[in-house]
Amino acid sequence: MTTSLSPAQTATLAALFDRIFPAGADGSPSASEIGAVGYVSDALSGPYAEHLPLYTELIAALDLAAGGDFAAAPTDRQDSILALFEANDTSLDALPRPSDYSAFDLIWRHLREGLFCDPRHGGNRGFKGWELIGFPGAQPGYRAEEQQVSHKVARAPQSMDSLGQDARLESAPATIAASEPLPEADVVIIGGGFVGGFMAHRLTAQGKRVVILEAGDSRTGREHAMDELSATAFRNLGGAKKFNSEVPTWRLRPGAPARRASMSQGLETELGGNSVAWGAVAMRFYEDDFEIRSKTVAKYGETSIPADSTLADWPMSYRDLEPYYDMAEDLLGVSGHAGGPRENGRTRGNPFEAPRKHPYPMPALRRSGLGQTFATAAESLGYHPFNLPAAILTAPHKGRHACTYCSFCSRFGCHVDAKASAQNTVLPEALDSGLLTILTGARVTEIVTEDGRAVGARYLTSDGQSHVQRGRQVVLATYAFENTRLLLLSRDEAHPQGLGNNHDQVGRNYMTRQQPSVYAVFDDRKLNRFIGPTAQATAIADLSCDHFDHTGLGFIRGGRVAAFNQYLPIEASGVLPPDVPRYGAAWKEFFVASYNATMMLFIDPEILPSTNNRLDLDPEQTDALGRPVVRITFDIGDNEKAMIPWLQDRAEEIARKMGAARIWRRPALTGPISTHDTGGTRMGHDPETSVTDGFGRVHDTPGLTVIGGSSFVSLPPVNPALTILALSLRAADAIVGDQVAADGKQEEIA
């Protein structure tokens, strides 16, 4: 078997790439001149070896279509073959056709990597790709004035290698590679991610001995800093290894065929979980969100709730959760301007924000030039723009550095720990207590019960050993999908359908955020969106929840509209209006001209829980251990189908007011691609319609707590993590309370 391309194959690939990304009439470089061909052929004998057969087949198919040698064919012939290839046209019968994507999808992605990756990976030679579009690469940070609209950013492109590692940062948390179990803990937590870290912090602060079982390895939380390629493509080999071996399948409705879901973000399954990759938008729910059903019925009547919706109130009020929101914000170091009603016209925050007793720990991220343009347009349309609160420092906090606005933020570990992760917030303090032990490489396969009570977790070590770690309380905190899967795969006599599932509720009420963004290109200004974190966003909440009158609109609830930063070139070069093809001078010219002039208005619509949508075990697909993967059944309902286009219309109005020259939108249904995967182990008072109580305690399984996005009852138009963390801290307090009570009883008996 060959391990790389032959010279003839390379020539065909180069000819192909140079038709997809041709040299310009102005002398601008082609794909091969930028180094994309060299990048791909090197990658095929390295990290992308698995794709070599596809390339070999593809090249043969192109050569065949060109009558023997694609590279020697005239360019118009090459272009017509390319058009068929891009369309995955059946007339190219030798074309490889993978089941989940087209061959063009894959090579287009690799080509874009070769054009715009950090030169340390072999592409973008001599920064030619970055220079073409004016992307400065890895910078130690940006000054405020550089974020002004049309400010010319005069910085020579830099590789992250020339920044090096700042020696003033702390090292990875101390963990132990799992082998034999430890003595029974007060609490054993499955999953060392965001929830696991926060619960361990709260529990150890109250004297509890905690063991975390984490499937992945230890890490600093600064992984992939400032390197777009390694944070996206190569992450398949790194942070998301476990997840990528068990990606859920997706179908629209029962009976439809399920295919591997394309999770655009991937999920990190190493220490810290998605607290490392997250975008750090840290927003509370609104006060009424906790009484969503009763408030909606009171205002619009029972019939306003779609027939298929299982919309319900939460088993707690905002007031119950508020102290835990305060605590979570303080641990994270959230920056923001407090909002609330604008009686005195003084608030810079979100006017609809739930009442808060304390200001944010520090002031909001600055407003970018784009954010200001958005705010001005939104205000003139009668909206109330505000900066999103973010778990990103704007001033020093507990040894962490304030944000440098480097912009390699969502999907990246932060190079200065300005963005909160479990590693730079809760884990060091919890470890310092001496009460926490973290076992890494401990992949839990089952929750173990005795007489129907959870007593521990069975885990597999990297050398294939299986052990049980016991704990007086078992906490499941492995993200919505794995929370559901582990419950369904853990069975005993008292729970023949899985733990928590005696009323067939596990997996029901799954909700996932759709991302029906509106894009806009300006022809009179530069936006410099390659500066600033994603979370440095200006938003409006006027169209969220019930913040506006829905009479006559034909739907309930709404969504958030926001202008986000962070626009990195590998990803950005895949964002095209419907009338621009993915190849040729048209693509290249569009991207070069509009890379620094494209805005995305991100819409976070509220997704109602529906009887159609649930998670269960896929009857066919299994992971590497032969265990079924999660199957997602998800579609948007009539409410979303009416609401989303209406929100897109409003966003377009704002974009037009801002002066956009060209506007287009994504479809209303984008599928399970966000990381707002919620529901599945719904909280509630009634065991017939929920899996846990409001403290995450599983109704039918004593000794077991489940916490995560899976706990959600509804999915307001707000990012989930801050609420997940507040629920975690509250759940930790309930565990402490239960154990105090149990110990008290023991003493009474004794």
């Binding site: 130690p140 940006y142 020696a167 090292s171 020093p396 440098t404």
Partner: protein, 386 residues
């Protein structure tokens, strides 16, 4: 059990340069550090990285001159970017009363062969245009500059490993004592033996030598540093200090301003870890803004503190302290600049016993200091009072 020619405890810049120089002669060396190279909260982790030969004690001047010759070649020798730059060091007098201090420094530097120049107000404006117009007179040493201490220590550890030095990082370590003498070190429960063990363990030296009954006239103090948000690079080339202020100020390659001085940080009770004191940070920043007015428009983005070993007379302890035990500690807030020279001389002294330049730093001088003086030195308050 393993035996080497020399064990170096501590992988900060002092231990790093010592181990590297020993290894370059072909000696078999082990480098031991529970935190690895420049780990928090060591001095090399926190250090401001100023390379200042000007204004030093006469005994240190020869070391400073050797070091000043070595620094420009170190990036090549270590194949590493050390963020080295030579923008000079500028020491300012802002009042007439402070002028004699500058004159004295100029005379002392001239006597010690350090190239420090007298600069008047107009020359100061040329060297550092944005520095306060109220500066009357300055001492300027153009050969001085800055480098990144953490990167230096890490580059040394890498270079040592390449030369075959056995690096024992990440595990607790202590001295190994047998038959009443130091015979090596215990690193992660593993016994390492050597005829000589060098303690380059900074502020941790006291706890390591306590079992030997040795008490050095040193104290551990956290020093705090501040960092501003980014300005355009190349606004301030030299490191600036001032006679009448507790301050050192420089601009980094990124454009950020870094503010140091001798501002003590608050002990946390967790080992030698300290945290910046807000009251000190405010005064520290205000002092810097008085020298560089634009700082009043900048923001604080980071602050940290690291622990330095300060000796009672401000000079390090370098030399044999017991059978098999060699000390190199107590660098008293200015050990970074001389560290390449210290490493070279300590290596020479260990291998040949001939480094006469180190004689003034002998640990034996400790015996001449009165105990109540030492107690007062150790107990001096952390908090600066107005």
């Amino acid at each position: 059990m393993s035996t080497v020619d020399c064990i170096v405890m501590g992988a900060g810049v002092i231990g790093g340069f010592t181990a590297w120089n020993l290894a370059r002669t072909g000696a078999r060396v082990a480098l031991v550090d529970p935190r690895g190279a420049a780990g928090a909260p060591s001095a090399s982790w926190a250090s401001a990285g100023g390379l200042r030969a000007q204004g030093r004690n006469a005994h240190e001047q020869p070391l400073s001159r050797i070091a000043a010759d070595l620094w420009p070649g170190l990036q090549d020798a270590l194949s590493a970017d050390l963020e080295l730059s030579q923008g000079g060091h500028l020491h300012l007098a802002e009042t007439e009363a402070e002028v004699p201090a500058i004159e004295n420094r100029l005379a002392a530097d001239a006597a010690g062969g350090i190239a420090t120049e007298r600069v008047d107000a107009a020359q100061i404006r040329d060297i550092a245009p944005e520095v306060t117009g109220s500066a009357l007179l300055g001492a300027f040493s153009p050969g001085d500059g800055q480098a990144h201490p953490g990167r230096t220590a890490q580059a040394l550890a890498r270079a040592c490993a390449e030369l075959g030095v056995a690096c024992h990082f990440g595990a607790p370590a202590s001295l190994l004592m047998e038959h009443g003498k130091v015979t090596g070190a215990l690193a992660g429960g593993h016994a390492l033996r050597a005829p000589q063990t060098v303690l380059a363990t900074g502020a941790w030296t006291a706890e390591l030598v306590a079992p030997l009954g040795l008490a050095l006239p040193m104290r551990a103090r956290g020093l705090q540093m501040l960092l501003s948000d980014l300005a355009l690079p190349d606004i301030l080339a030299p490191t600036v200090t001032a006679v009448g202020r507790n301050l050192s100020l420089k601009q980094l390659r990124s454009g950020a301003f870094m503010i140091g001085g001798r501002w003590f940080a608050r002990p946390t009770g967790r080992g030698l870890q300290t945290l910046p004191l807000d009251a000190h940070a405010a005064a520290q920043w205000a002092g810097a803004a008085a020298i560089l007015p634009r700082l009043s428009r900048h923001k604080l983005v980071h602050q940290w503190a690291g622990t330095e070993a300060q000796s009672i007379d401000g000079l390090p302890f370098i030399g044999r302290a017991a059978d098999g035990l060699y000390l190199a500690c107590g660098f008293s807030n200015h050990g970074f600049q001389i560290s390449p020279a210290v490493g070279a001389l300590v290596a020479e002294d260990i291998l040949t016993g001939t480094a006469a330049l180190l004689a003034p730093f002998t640990p034996e001088r400790a015996a001449r200091i009165a105990p109540d003086e030492i107690a007062a030195f150790r107990d001096a308050p952390i908090l600066a009072t107005a």
